[in-house]
Subunit: 168 residues, 3 copies
């Protein structure tokens, strides 16, 4: 439930939209709880479905990046803060989950995770800034985020590491 | 101090009761600081008192679950969010403490910790929903949380693990 | 960026100054991002500059402790909460960083880190309480924090450990 809801809670605290949406509408908690129960009961079988799960995860990443950036702009944040907050919304839940189970968050370790979220949020913010509203720019932003995330998984791309780092 | 105050700070941020009670009344900080100093100075001797400390911890868990759920209802949250927030209030401080010292939080590992908090919060919320106010329903909710927590310790009960898990 | 901005975000959430300053003025994000990029590109060379970096870190600690305590007083918090919040502002960013990379936070382990922040915040709060405003008391508070931090580094001082602790 924290994975699903943590990013949105951080976003709503930052933009002062309190109580967070998660706590104002019980359906967020119900959907996240139902998903968690499914994973709890059938987790071993879900292990075999890792690619479909990564695709769904990429869909979620895209949705969170776009809605996070949009809500940030609606709350009056400037373009750069809105892009950052969109990405934080998208990666925040998974980051808290990783911290709680004692792992260095995925977003800090490898793969492309924050990068597609930043791209999706940036397209969203640029669209809103030049006056493009509605579902078409949102779809473009979502597809861009989704595509970069899946390309990263498919070709095992990683964010660059600092020059001279042992991982280089 | 984080163990004592963390849960209430999270609760107050979520229900937009800011600054949190912890920072509005210096006595919260003073009591938590005094308790921390006692543990600092006499920690070795307190190790021998593990059962009384677990009982006091269960009292605290009950109080936090009930006050958290009650404040959530007063802030206009629905019943399901109020139950969740009551449990978060009760387990939040210890969870932050465990993260800071590099442990996977107790609440995620073993024993009954979130379960009694959820039971106490649920009884509180149902009582308020059916119009029962005052100290009698609060006492019932508190005793239920306390009893489930102590039964869990006494009989070494654990939350169920997912089917097929190595811990099963 | 979290190291630089995390403490101020916690402070602004606690005093209900939302959205946090970090998200209201894009220059905070830009400066922190530029610093992070420099560290990313020249990190290996910066390793050799550990003393100048520790001095700059002590300057930052002092600034955060003083501005945190001042903003807390301006927000109407009492003296003790304002001192605590000043110290939290100063050590919060580094603490979140350490948690994210899987380390027990420096502030909990060794050295004098919270102690100089508490001293700087306390001097700030006492000055404001007795009606001394402006840059002179702020400078005194900042120099005290800075000096205690550097003395701690120079003489390898540590906070006291509990009696009977294995680290004693």
């Amino acid at each position: 439930m924290i994975t699903a809801l943590g990013g949105g809670i951080i976003r709503d605290v930052i933009i002062a939209s309190l109580p967070p949406a998660t706590f104002r509408d019980w359906r967020y908690l119900a959907v996240a709880g139902a998903g968690a129960l499914i994973a709890f009961g059938w987790g071993r079988k879900l292990d075999r479905l890792s690619f479909p799960i990564e695709v769904l995860d990429a869909v979620g990443l895209s949705l969170f990046a776009i809605t996070g950036a949009t809500k940030a702009m609606d709350a009056g944040l400037g373009p750069l803060p809105a892009v950052i907050l969109g990405a934080v919304t998208a990666v925040g839940g998974g980051t808290i989950r990783d911290v709680l189970i004692g792992r260095v968050p995925t977003v800090l370790r490898s793969g492309l995770y924050a990068v597609p979220a930043l791209i999706g949020a940036a397209i969203t913010v640029v669209s809103l800034e030049i006056g493009l509203h509605g579902w078409i720019p949102a779809l473009v932003a979502g597809l861009a985020c989704f595509a970069v995330r899946l390309i990263g998984i498919r070709f095992d791309l990683n964010v660059p590491v600092p020059p001279g780092s042992p991982d280089e």
